[in-house]
Symmetry: C2
Subunit: 446 residues, 2 copies
């Protein structure tokens, strides 16, 4: 009888793991249990579905259970795993359509239960018209609310990546948008002076940005009508609460799978948990942060896919290693692009580094080329050694893949002097003769 691999959770990490396990080992039985109605979807596309840029929710679904079946992977949707017994190597599963519960046996398991939207304990959070965004069902519900109620006033609670993308998405439906952020800036992975560019863009696009504004309650009778924050009463026809993601570790904890210092599942570089035969990957798990040299919790689709592939290979008898993260991310906020990698200056100081920084502003293309845009590059580095600790780039073009050069520099452990030596591409339509990264690196190296 073939060995049986059960994958708990079938989104990015889970289906990446299942697919890689199948490619690695043709004999293995591979079963995926996913509690939502969909597998293998690109949740990062949801804001663009809500915006209307992606016409159908099905467009963000990479593969269906039927397509996985053709690969020899059995994916059950609407099946919730209720418990894992790691000694008996079984799971208890409920079919959410029928209510039927059953026990399944596994020889190897990959835990990819992902994360869940943080839901702050605020009065009125259950009111219709208030949403979080995490699943296909959430995205469809938000879009349906917009289509049915034609809201005129949208409130976004939280100025992180998803909140910023949703501001753009809701604004496309001709709403007046208010964005409420409890701290003093949006996008906390960037330093304040870089985030200021984003705040300026939001304001220029008509978004009412309120910083240092902590929501206390939601009001309304049949549906949400107001968001309350101190003495502010903000009228709202739709509210999206986007205040972070928490790893869904309930099953893991109950099964005795160890969590790490971040509260997510602890894994080694082979995605192994503390329990032999159980791997974990994606938003439920930590990842080794190469700059800090310790685990961090940075739930992103790119990392989930990579970790899933490694977990799948290893659970199927292979030997792959996840190389860790440097915390690279990018977001489009209306016409502005903002990216970061490594540590912000604030974070670096909080981590105990003697951090210095420079900000260089240069052109995205040669200065004489029409369409060139200012591009702001911040480098954070150790004062004494000039070792790069992080970078941030904000601009209207040429941001997202320029940050990758800084990510590579962090992987390599380079100093700003080494960064300044890079032979980067140059042609007038794409860069000035001194690429903005080199301008910043030269400035840092003086």
């Amino acid at each position: 009888m073939p060995e049986r691999l059960i994958v708990v959770g079938g989104v990015a990490a889970g289906m990446s793991a299942a697919a890689k396990a199948r490619r690695t080992n043709k004999q293995l039985d591979i079963i995926v249990y996913e509690q939502s109605g969909f597998v293998s979807y690109g949740s990062c596309g949801f804001p663009y579905f809500i915006k209307g840029e992606i016409p159908q929710i099905n467009d963000v679904i990479v593969r269906t259970p039927a397509q996985f079946a053709a690969q020899g992977i059995t994916a059950h949707v609407k099946h919730q795993v209720l418990a894992i017994d790691s000694a008996a190597q079984t799971v208890v599963v409920r079919n959410l359509d029928t209510g039927h519960e059953f026990t399944d046996q596994w020889d190897r398991m990959i835990l990819t239960t992902g994360g869940a939207s943080a839901r702050p304990a605020l009065a009125g959070l259950q009111l219709p018209g208030i949403f979080t965004l995490r699943t296909v069902e959430d995205a469809v519900a938000i879009r349906q609310w917009i289509d049915e109620h034609r809201p005129e006033r949208g409130v976004i609670v939280g100025g992180g990546y998803i909140g910023l993308e949703l501001a753009e998405a809701l604004a496309a439906h001709h709403m007046h948008i208010t964005l409420l952020e409890a701290t003093g800036q949006v996008l906390p992975t960037l330093d304040a002076e870089m985030a200021a560019h984003i705040q300026a863009e939001l304001t220029a696009q008509g978004v009412d940005v309120r910083l240092d504004c902590a929501v206390e309650a939601f009001a309304g009778s049949e549906r949400v009508r107001e968001v309350l924050a101190g003495d502010q009463h903000i009228a709202a026809d739709i509210v999206i609460v986007s205040v972070g993601v928490k790893p869904s570790v309930g099953l893991a904890r109950a099964a005795g799978i160890a969590l790490g210092p971040t509260g997510a599942v602890a894994v080694d570089d082979h995605q192994r948990t503390n329990i032999t035969g159980i791997w974990a990957a994606g938003d439920v798990a930590e990842a080794q942060h190469l700059v800090m040299g310790r685990p961090a919790y940075v739930p992103l689709g790119s990392t989930a896919n990579k970790q899933g592939k490694v977990a799948g290979a290893n659970a199927a008898g292979g030997d792959e290693r996840f190389g860790g993260i440097v915390g690279t991310s990018v977001v489009k906020v209306f016409d502005l692009h903002a990216a970061g990698t490594g540590l912000s200056e604030l974070r670096a100081r909080a981590e105990g580094y003697n951090a210095a920084s420079v900000v260089a502003t240069a052109n995205s293309r040669a200065h004489y080329m029409p369409g060139h845009q200012p591009i702001h590059v911040k480098l954070v580095f150790e004062q004494d050694t000039h070792k790069l600790l992080g970078g941030q780039i904000v601009g209207r073009e040429g941001v997202s893949k320029r940050i990758d050069t800084l990510a590579a520099a962090l992987h390599a452990g380079w100093t700003t002097e080494q960064l300044a030596e890079l032979d980067l591409s140059y042609a007038p339509p794409f860069a000035p003769v001194w690429d903005p990264i080199l301008v910043a690196a030269n400035l840092a190296s003086r």
Copy 2:
């Protein structure tokens, strides 16, 4: 009396050197002799001036002699250095306006005489209407010819970077363009299957691309009328010959400055020539190629500026080092962007490497995002070690700065497995969850 630094040649490397020397050393007398009528210009912008995208030739000029004077740098245009005496530490200079010749004395010298367009020994090359493109004067003459003669048929001889950019530039003037290339493909820094995408784009844009077509002569009486290649007679109202750049080493050779194996001036990592007190930089000089571990001749503005800065610092008493090149370049060909870094597969084999390669085609953005475009990534690597030797990317967006990640990987000396570990930026408008570079790196690592 202050020491005197003479810079011979005042374009990219020369003025970068002069400016850096001034910042490094306030005492030094700094004199620049430039034989053309302009200093400090971005010659890479010429195709876009000819195209009409840049309205005025002055737009590509970074700084004028007057602006340099304000920094304490004396820049003489239309002054040709006729001879260098490295024992007596003098130069003989001719004022091209007056014909006056004089001798000047130097304590330190930076040689930045640049390169010149290769001019093949072909009958009729001197006919009016046939141009090469290297100087401001060339660019203005081409543009003037177009404005005065309204040519209907343009012929580009040579399918390198400049030839490709000029095909686009001339086509903007509603000419029928024929591009003649003596070898079997355009853009010899790329491998044939990648160059094929460019050839397809040229053809789709109406350019008549003729490969394996060696020009033998030009015909016409008062001006060029035909280009002759074998039995082909190609009608032409304007011809641009763009068959490469040769380092302008005449002065150097006569002065006893050693040339390297490439025929350009040999320099060490401080841009020193074999003669104490003389540095060289830019298109007249070689550069250490980090992949091959030996000098190469890759004349590009980005390298010229970097080398100039190093030469300027060192000639002024500083201690800077040029880190070498990996041969990164990018070109826009109508709507297609093509980039390369390191060695092509053909070149790698010719250099004796046991080279293997993969080509991956992926999307420039998430597959569900409108506007996504196919992007082709080729990786060339050592068969046994998987050490990366080079990369090529072709597509309609996201090419130019993606190549920089591969350039960084070459600087770091990574394998394809290490490349596959990179934490690259991901958001649906900018990349798929597996960046095309990672797709290629995974494929190479199997």
